[in-house]
Symmetry: C2
Subunit: 324 residues, 2 copies
């Protein structure tokens, strides 16, 4: 359990100083010694050797992004992977991170240790150095963790540079994240770096809020995304959850969010089949799907059905703060 | 008021998308266009031209670091200044920042706009670029903001490199932060960069948890800080608050925390009076005080009274999560 009734297991019992030294111990080899790691006013980073420096931040809050059904280790791992997915979306390579914890005094020390097991294993796995952070107190029963991650990209691929006639692709399968997929995902770092090197690739982002909403953001101005709904790669989890929700599996694939797959576009004049063959040779195990094309269209709505040419408005995706 | 009863003033009414575009508008010139500012998966930073890159993170939570008595603008300004003080403590120059907001659905849009006025004015004042961030939802009645700031330092001054016989100095006056000083402070960036260039300066940190506690951290191993208590520069606010608290003004100066002044050491073999004259010429308006010296001592306690040579144990400073 994330919150404890046992005073001796609470971080209030531990106190700030012991908590910080425990965190350093829990992180072990993924936090270098000060000033390159925890312990000074700032962390001193290794010079960014090649490429452009990247910076991103993302948070996880108990009750919002995870709940009691999720293991502490999975929660810690996900915090790192969410941020890695943003670095991947630029075609980048991750480097150093700082972690701010906002903990109620009743957060369980045992739970937090497991959380850091996830942070540590994932950071080591993806070569992320945890170089510093901050611990501060919030209300009883509350826990948030905010990770800020640096990285580099030789030639960052942006999300707003797609053009009219570009072909639209997604990696993997979409939907059903609520069935645990949003913990099991692997950030597409290697694939994204490969894509960043392909001259056809015009734009890229990671899918976090659902394909419907993310496509509206990704769509160039004065264009709409003409989508072949039959082509959408629907995840098995989306089919399973559809049986429970009585909604269509396609709707889950379009709206659930937290797919952490790549959405990218390739130049309309390029040779699609050659590009797809190169992909298949490089990543035989990761499904790649052409889902549509950007067409000239100055209406507000950014999604069209490629068969009927009609506006698709039923796929809003996830939005924070919006009442149901 | 930070939280609103009026639905139309709440960020829940606004929704995430409008909130983000409002934030971009509120930040105005202190956030560059994407991908160098908000709007892509990561922010692309300008290459770190000279010196070593620095990274630091610090948070502000309603009810912990500020309350209803503090204006939204002051709260926003303080978030930036706290982090600037950490960059200063390394002798660095600030560069880019990302901001993670954790907001209850009842946070007032009007309040948040004023908060960003403080963020914006302070960022512009100190040449900080707000390049990105994250907004996510937490419980009703809760608000935290986490800022992560990058910077560079030609030759970072560390906090654990003081040596035996080093003379100990503090800038400015200490104590009484509760009387509003912790909003009015100016991060000592210029002074710290000057100190980083002086060959005598061995170590530096900023005073955040109270001189008593911070000195224990600053003290080299197998040493103690022999402190001249009569020399401690006590702020007027500490004298004022002492009348209300019935504690000694000195105790407030040693323990209150949030002074955001510099604590540094200079080599014991250097010419103190020459160093002090150079300081006075460079910063005629900022008081500099020699408060003691590091002496060999292998006891656990790190604070000694220079007159009696006895252990000073009554100045613990501020610690999160500790029960009163």
């Amino acid at each position: 359990m994330i919150f404890t009734q046992e005073y001796e297991d609470s971080i209030a019992y531990l106190g700030e100083r012991s908590l910080l030294s425990n965190i350093q111990k829990w992180l072990g080899p993924c936090t270098p010694p000060a000033p390159y790691g925890m312990g000074d006013d700032c962390a001193v980073l290794n010079p960014f050797s090649s490429g452009k420096p990247l910076l991103t931040t993302d948070s996880m809050t108990y009750g919002q992004h995870f709940d009691a059904s999720v293991s502490a280790k999975d929660a810690g791992a996900k915090l790192i992977k969410r941020n890695l997915s943003d670095i991947a979306a630029m075609g980048g390579t991750p480097s150093s991170a700082v972690l701010a914890l906002l903990c109620g005094p009743d957060v369980s020390t045992r739970w937090l240790q497991k959380f850091f097991e996830g942070v540590r294993a994932t950071s080591l796995n993806y070569n992320v150095s945890l170089v510093g952070g901050d611990v501060s107190q919030v209300n009883k029963g509350a826990f948030s963790a905010v990770l800020t991650l640096t990285g580099t990209a030789l030639d960052p691929i942006l999300r707003q540079t797609a053009q009219q006639n570009d072909q639209i692709y997604v990696t993997g399968f979409l939907g059903g994240s609520a069935l645990g997929k949003h913990y099991a995902f692997a950030p597409r770092l290697v694939e994204a770096r490969w894509l960043a090197k392909q001259s056809e690739c015009n734009a890229m982002m990671d899918l976090t809020d659902g394909l419907g909403k993310d496509l509206s953001v990704f769509c160039p101005i004065k264009c709409a995304a003409e989508i072949n709904l039959d082509a959408i790669p629907i995840d098995q989890s989306a089919h399973k959850i559809a049986k429970l929700s009585k909604r269509k599996a396609l709707e889950h694939a379009m709206c659930d969010g937290e797919d952490y797959e790549l959405l990218f576009s390739i130049n309309g004049n390029s040779n699609r089949s050659k590009f797809e063959s190169r992909w298949a040779a490089a990543f035989p195990d990761l499904c790649l799907t052409n889902i549509g094309v950007f067409v000239a269209d100055s209406r507000t709505s950014k999604l069209l059905d490629s068969k009927t040419k009609e506006v698709l408005s039923m796929y809003p995706g996830f939005e924070h703060f919006k009442l149901p």
